[in-house]
Symmetry: C2
Subunit: 330 residues, 2 copies
């Protein structure tokens, strides 16, 4: 790990705050070297993803530093899970502003400590620099998958069942809560939705469990329809989605029951970090059993079709209008 | 690779500009998936580094986009070389400003194309987002090294010869040229020094060649004295450096001959991206022969000592004053 601002101060930040996060990764060398070393078990491949986040664009400047760190790690964990891989370790690049004092940075690192324990990953290396602003972060996460077994977007097959994990649309509604655009719901529902937006729960156990069972797979970050659009475009198939089958949380159900136009957020909003995947029909029972044993709900919401278009049917089986970017308007 | 701004436009940028850069890395999947897949040959480990660069901090806003891209890639290549590893592929996160239009981004990508060919590396994945500014970049580079053979900073042994590649101090003087602080030198020398600052030439062939020969190794990015300070601190040794042995380019020699106080820049300035390494005396002949066959100059500038301190001797063998951060004042 290298540092370049206020050099002696920053070497202290790396040594005192970040180096302890690397202790369970021997190849991190305590962040003292130019690069980290990582070995790979025979029979496995590495799966690697890298996300960037900018204050004011991907999170709010006054979000808790612990949560900013955890969301950054979790969005990358979701990408790794979507490939069917198990996460191992990560590298972190931070461009701090003057507002990020040592206390702020220590809280940020503490968020990483919490999630390192929760998800069993370790800091491996990175870089820390200064920026006149805004705070900008980038994380590279590395996982492993049995060689040749990674899940892909382009592998959906005609006739596959289309499934999602968890509940859909909570994060988009949570963002509305954060922006005070969703005031007419109960406090407990508002809190639930906001938390789903601030701290997604990446499906790190379900992803690897789908290897050998699912065909196409990705995580829902752009929005349910846009992301299923990616699967069908890459797989050169189509899809039919039954809106009534889309799993909603109680909070999302209450919101959309009151304001049906919120379906647009539920279908089009992003950041749920649930998995959307396609299954040969014969694998459904085993998949549901595995998911249940992992405590993750899996719901069939439609199927993969030959005709290269995406249809979404309302509760009466009537086709809803969806525009070319995957957004449905009501 | 994912995109999140002006989504359709940005998906186009990924598809048209960046996807072609990933064509020789099959596990990049044309940048269509959530993550990339990479296999590792038996007997090898991966070496991974990640750097961040901010406009106005690490490069000038009006530097050529081609050169910004190449410097970003090359500084990471240097880290991989310093570990004795051979570079393979990289992930790129970009936070573009509004000033980075498609033409600018295409020129940036073209810089990467040039250096992908020169250094034999491939784009594997990444992320592209928008920022209100400044332009912020992060690159993660992955290389390979025979298992257990990576070069480390902490492996210098008492009695080792202390060596450097190439010439020292050119980049620091080149930065002075860029800042118009070094006007009294010839145009040809100014151009040479500026180019050494703008486009370092990472020692990608020498690094792997030192595996099995060198003990301690790093790349000179913080400055010669600071970086040798890292080696001796990590290795719990000391060092004696003979200033008269430090290899200078003709341009740097001309500058320091005219203004001896420029030794401070040469010894203390960073960004040379040469390698500094320590060698058992018995390995010197073989190392020099290998380096010569690779077209890289290697010079012995001192030795590793038992006493845990760093001494630098002037042309008359008199010890120069060096402060605690590794900066020498004259």
């Amino acid at each position: 790990m290298t540092a370049d601002f206020d050099r002696s101060g920053e070497f202290e930040v790396i040594k005192n705050i970040f180096s302890p996060l690397s202790m369970s990764a021997p190849g991190a060398f305590g962040l003292t070297d130019d690069a980290a070393v990582m070995s790979v078990e025979a029979g496995f491949e590495l799966v690697i993803t890298k996300d960037a986040m900018v204050a004011g664009v991907h999170f709010l400047e006054d979000d808790k530093p612990e949560n900013i760190a955890r969301k950054l790690l979790r969005t990358n964990l979701s990408d790794i899970a979507a490939m069917g891989a198990k996460p191992l370790s990560y590298l972190l690049a931070t461009a701090w502003t003057d507002d990020c004092n040592q206390d702020w940075i220590a809280r940020f690192a503490n968020g990483l400590v919490l999630d390192q324990k929760k998800y069993g990953v370790s800091l491996l290396g990175g870089d820390t620099v200064k920026t006149p602003g805004p705070l900008t972060l980038s994380l590279t996460l590395i996982g492993k998958v049995p060689s040749g077994q990674s899940l892909r977007r382009n592998a959906a097959k005609v006739g596959d069942l289309l499934c999602v994990s968890g509940t859909i649309g909570d994060a988009a509604l949570g963002l509305m809560v954060a922006r005070q655009e969703l005031k007419s719901i109960s406090e407990i529902n508002a809190k639930f939705l906001l938390n789903r937006y601030l701290l997604p729960d990446p499906r790190v156990s379900l992803g690897p469990a789908l290897v050998g069972l699912a065909n196409g797979c990705l995580d829902i970050s752009d929005g349910l329809l846009a992301d299923i659009g990616h699967i069908v475009a890459q797989s050169k198939t189509g899809a039919i989605i039954h809106r009534s089958e889309i799993p909603l949380s109680k909070a999302a159900f209450a919101a959309v029951d009151m304001r049906p136009e919120l379906w647009e957020q539920i279908l089009g909003g992003g950041d749920d970090y649930e998995l959307a995947f396609t299954l040969p029909r014969k694998n459904l029972t085993e998949t549901l059993k595995k998911a249940e044993s992992l405590g993750v709900k899996v719901t069939v919401i439609g199927e993969i079709t030959h005709e290269p278009e995406m249809k979404i049917l309302d509760d009466d089986g009537i086709e809803l209008q969806v525009n070319s970017t995957g957004w449905a308007h009501f």
